[in-house]
Structures are given as structure tokens and as C-alpha cells.
Symmetry: C2
Subunit: 336 residues, 2 copies
Amino acid sequence: MDRIAENADQSRGVTADDVAAAAGVSRWTVARAFKKRGAISPKTRQKVLAAAERLGYAPDLLAASLASDRSHLVALITNDFNNPHKLVLLERLTRILWSQGWGTLLVNMSESEDASAALLAASQRRVDAAVMIGTRFDDRVLDTALGARRVKKLVVFARYSNNPNTLTISCDDRLAMREIGDHLFARGYASPAFIAGPDTQSAKLHRVDSFRDHWLGLTGGAVPTRHAAGYDFHSAIDTVNAVLDAALPGTLPDVLVCENDILAIGAKEALRARGGAAAGIAVTGFDDIPLAAAPSYHLTTYRQPITAMCERLLDVLSGRLNEDVFVPGTLIVRGG
Amino acid sequence: MDRIAENADQSRGVTADDVAAAAGVSRWTVARAFKKRGAISPKTRQKVLAAAERLGYAPDLLAASLASDRSHLVALITNDFNNPHKLVLLERLTRILWSQGWGTLLVNMSESEDASAALLAASQRRVDAAVMIGTRFDDRVLDTALGARRVKKLVVFARYSNNPNTLTISCDDRLAMREIGDHLFARGYASPAFIAGPDTQSAKLHRVDSFRDHWLGLTGGAVPTRHAAGYDFHSAIDTVNAVLDAALPGTLPDVLVCENDILAIGAKEALRARGGAAAGIAVTGFDDIPLAAAPSYHLTTYRQPITAMCERLLDVLSGRLNEDVFVPGTLIVRGG
DNA sequence: AAGAGATTTGCACACGCGAGCAGATTTTTC
DNA sequence: GAAAAATCTGCTCGCGTGTGCAAATCTCTT
């Protein structure tokens, strides 16, 4: 066959068979040459790789997935595209996963708000694992949804889930909120208020509870909490205005502890627009998004250990790790 | 046993054969039942779908890809994860593509700065098309890189490329900059300066040139241009400071036209920090990222027609469209 | 009611590669 | 130098589905 000659032109459909023919070995020897720990003699491998290079061959991962029942594909599922921090997570995840040979399928579940459709779609592509990014996983889905059962591994990333069928890889939120509380206490703040995201029944509000518990232990004082309608700065502005309107004179909080940086930025905007006593109220965030460092905001916030979390994810994918992980992050002190 | 084994055990390996047996038909009839326009009698389809439902069957897209040589997979390739606008693009792209049956592989090429590695990785997954998001495609890659030749379609999305082997789907930047110019002219601005991104030799700076050409025609005046070191607001701050430092007294620009919103936000930050005469200088952006609407910035900017662009991408993927497209966007007037 | 036409169903083959084993080759051992 | 061990190579079978065609069934006309 001079199929090889054809392919050299088109550079399409170059298969292991072609390389095998060109190198004078069998197809399986070609496969071994491309395997890290393949049982193959150095000179044969050399010969094969040279032929592959010449023909422009690269193994077909699709066919390999079908044959081996391991796709080396991970579905990244998320529904919150308003938060710039998602971009940081996606950047890190894709870079680190691809560098280790894992492909990443980005799935948007903001339509349905129900993970089952996203999981079904992912499972049809035979992903080795589904990773919910910054998204809680509703327990009921596992019982009812078709897709959920078909996915081999289910990981909740950068968020807490107590679902027993799920693996959590997250920042240690409890520790984080303690550090923020200690920091505020040391700086002399006395009456914090918490600005949280939407108060959905199912969502366990880890950060709020952690902060309130710790502050109670620290000062004996309760922390009033207000829920924004959404994780976006417009909602935060409305919420902070509501907080300020509701406060009796002389009972203003002296610091607004926000569940993440987006809400914190909204809070800063609201306080600045309001002026007067409000302008003196401090704000803390969470995530350390790039804009948190802007002169206008200069937020004290908490940086999640994303790289470390990604590495734990690799451990989970390779089967080395099979339990929940909480990694400590870093307090970033900027403003008051 | 562990949780993973449980999941995998349940409904593993329900294939078309199983459904066929359960429904009393052949495997190919099952396939037809799942095809939109399959030649199959309604009652047979009904019977098959019922059996599939009962068994929890969903077609294996991986095997289908291998057999049909169409993966219905698209690689989304990008390298600029600093710009929140990427998140908007990703959200829209993934939602619209998945809704039409296209899977999206997110590839991060920020490491190499060279598209060839990303393209090779994508091609090994047999993607039907690679979409460079907001990223220019270096012509030389097509000639030298292995990956580039293996990808069936190459689309440059939300950015201009004059590469003949590439399809461009973009906002009509030329029109956009004309609208911005007209707007500024009508408002009485007389001496704009342009703040652009990095000045790489290969990059054709579409927006800059368009604005300068138009302004020249409008007023006969030249527009001084300054390049930031990167597409991030810190670089923009430095650049704007440099512009102000370099300006002779009385020759300050009255408006800074920025290549995108991130640079514009940096510009606003710099002007605000500077105070005095600088604080009166207006700023325009591009992209209309969510934060552009924040009270602190309140940017006049230009919204790209992302949904329309995604629909044109679908046309390209399905083969209905095979030429460059430039879609007009919308001027968003906010600040001065 | 028979035959033409339309519709519906079944089948051989292919897609590109991996797992696991058997045969071939080389290296080591006594 | 021959046998045992270690290493290397080739091969059968299967992964789950699409394509194109032939066979079977149904519908309608005369």
C-alpha cells in the first residue's frame, strides 16, 4: 500500500499501522514506543519514534479511550459565570490537568440549575470524572438522575459538600473564617455584619456559620447576616443599602464580612456611594480575585490554595486519594 | 466497598445491543430510534425508547465519534485568563454549543504561547473544529506545526485574523471604533489618546488603526497611542501614568480610548488616584464586562454581539457557512 | 388480488487502538 | 555451551457505534 505516501500529503488518518509499516515492526510495538513504561528495546523505540515523527503520527486518544475504557477526560461543570474567580479556577485546572494528560470538557449547567443533565451529557462522552466547580451537588440528584450514576467519580471542587457519594476538594473555609475573625478582632473591630450569597435551603452556608461560631467564641457577640439575591455586585449593593437603612443610628456595623470578593466589591461600591459614616466601614472578601488588588478596593481577602487543590484532584483522578480534602489558604491583608 | 465502585457497578455497559434485545429489534433499529430523522416507524421507535428508558441507556458518543469520524467536539482554545470578558464568552459558547449537541473541550495555551501544542492535543481528541477565543493565530504555525494540519476547521473567534486558512467570527471592530469616535466627537472631545494592549509585531491592531483612521477623517487630528505591557489593569495604570507624565502642561488628552474594559478600568483607577486635572479625563472601554457598569467606573463601552457570533459559529460547524463574519455590536453610553 | 413503489429492518464491515497471552529473541546462569 | 530466565514482539479478540446496501414488510393502485 502506498497509503503512506498519501497520508504524508494530507497528514490525515496516519494510524499506528502506517507507522508500523514504515518502521518495519508491528502495530503493537508502535503502541509500546509511545507508552511511558512500555516493554520495548531502546533502539526499536528510537526507530519507531523516528518513523512516527516522519509521518506526523500522534496516537488517537478517542480510539484509545474506547479500547481501554479510560478516556482521560474530566468534565468541569459549573453554573456561576459571574464570578471572575471562576476564570482563575478554570485557568489553573485546565493547565494542570492537561499537563498531566487529562482533557477537560467544560460543561455549563447554568440553564437547568440541575446537575443531572450536565452529568448525563458528560457521561455520554465517557468522562473518567466529573468535577463540580464552586457548585454544590444536590444529594437528590444521585438517587434520581440517570447521569449521576453513570459517572465514575464525582468531585466537588472549591466548595463544601457533605454528600457521601461525592469527594470534596476545598479550601479550609472554617480555618479561613477563623483567621479573618482573629484578624478583625486584633484590629479592634467590634461589630461585624456578614454579607452572604443567596439563601437557598439546600446550601449549607459554611463560611457564614464558621465566622459566626468563631466570633461568638471570641467576643460572645452575635453576627447579623444578610443574604444577597445573587452572587453579583449589583445584588451586594442592594443588600448593603438594606443593611444600612435598617440599622438604628449608632448601631452601624464597623466591618462587612463578605462571602466572596464579588460581594465585597459591591459592598465597597455601596459604602462609597453612600458616603458619610458608611464610608468608614471596612470590608473583607474571599478569593483574592485580581480586582481585589485594585486601588479602588484594596480588599483584605483570603486566597484559596488553588494549585494545591488541583494537585489533590490529580491524586483523586489517579486513584491515589479517595477522601475529602481541605487545604489551608492564605489571608491577604490589604485594607483596614 | 468504596463509593466509586458502587457508582460504576450500577448501570455500566448498557449498550444498544441490550436495548435491542429488550425491545426485540436489532441494534441498528435502536440507533435509528435515537436519530432525529431516522427512517423508523413510530411504534417501533416508541417501543425502543421505552426499553431504553427502562434500562437507562444513553448512546455512547465516544464510540459514535470513532465510527462516524465526527466527534461533535469543539476545542475552545485561549490564553488570556485575566480578562473577565473571557468568562462571558465561555458561558455563552458552552451553553449554546452544548444545547445543539456540541461538546466543548477547554484548552489552555497560556503556557506555551504557541498554538501548536494546544492544537495537537485537541486533534488527538479528534475535535471537529478548534476555536481560538480572543486569540490571534500565528500564520507560521499552520506551516510548521503538526497539530494545525490535523485539525479540520480553525476558527478565530472574537478577534480578527487575516489568515486565509482560518475562519474569523468577530465583532465588527471597525464599525465599533467609528461609533465610538462619532460619539466622542459629538460630545465635543477633541484630543483622544489610545491605550492599547501589548505591541506584538505579529498582532494586527485592528481597533487602534480603525479608531485612528476614523478620527483622522473626522478631525484631521492624529491620535497618540500607547501600548500597555499586558492586558491587565496594573499594566494599564502604569501606561496611563506614563502618558500623563509625558504630556506637556496644557496638552493632556481629554479622553482615553482603551482597547478593552480591563485597560479602561486600569485607566480610571490611574486617573482617580492622580486627581487634579487628570480626574476630569474621560475613558472608554470595549466588551461591556459586568464591572463596567459599577458606579465606580460607569464606563462607556461597546458590547460585542456574542449570541449572534455563537450562532454564526454553529453555522460554520454545520458547514452552512464558510467565510469570515463581522457582526455589528452595540455602543453602551454611560459616563461622559 | 397482484404487482409496483415506499417504507422499514437487518447485516457485514469498518473506525483505531488496548489487554493479555503466546511465541520469538536476547541475556544470564551454571 | 546449553538451559533457564528475562526481555521483547506479534497476534487474537473486543470496545460501541455509524455507513451503505440488501432483504423484508407494508401501502397503494388498478
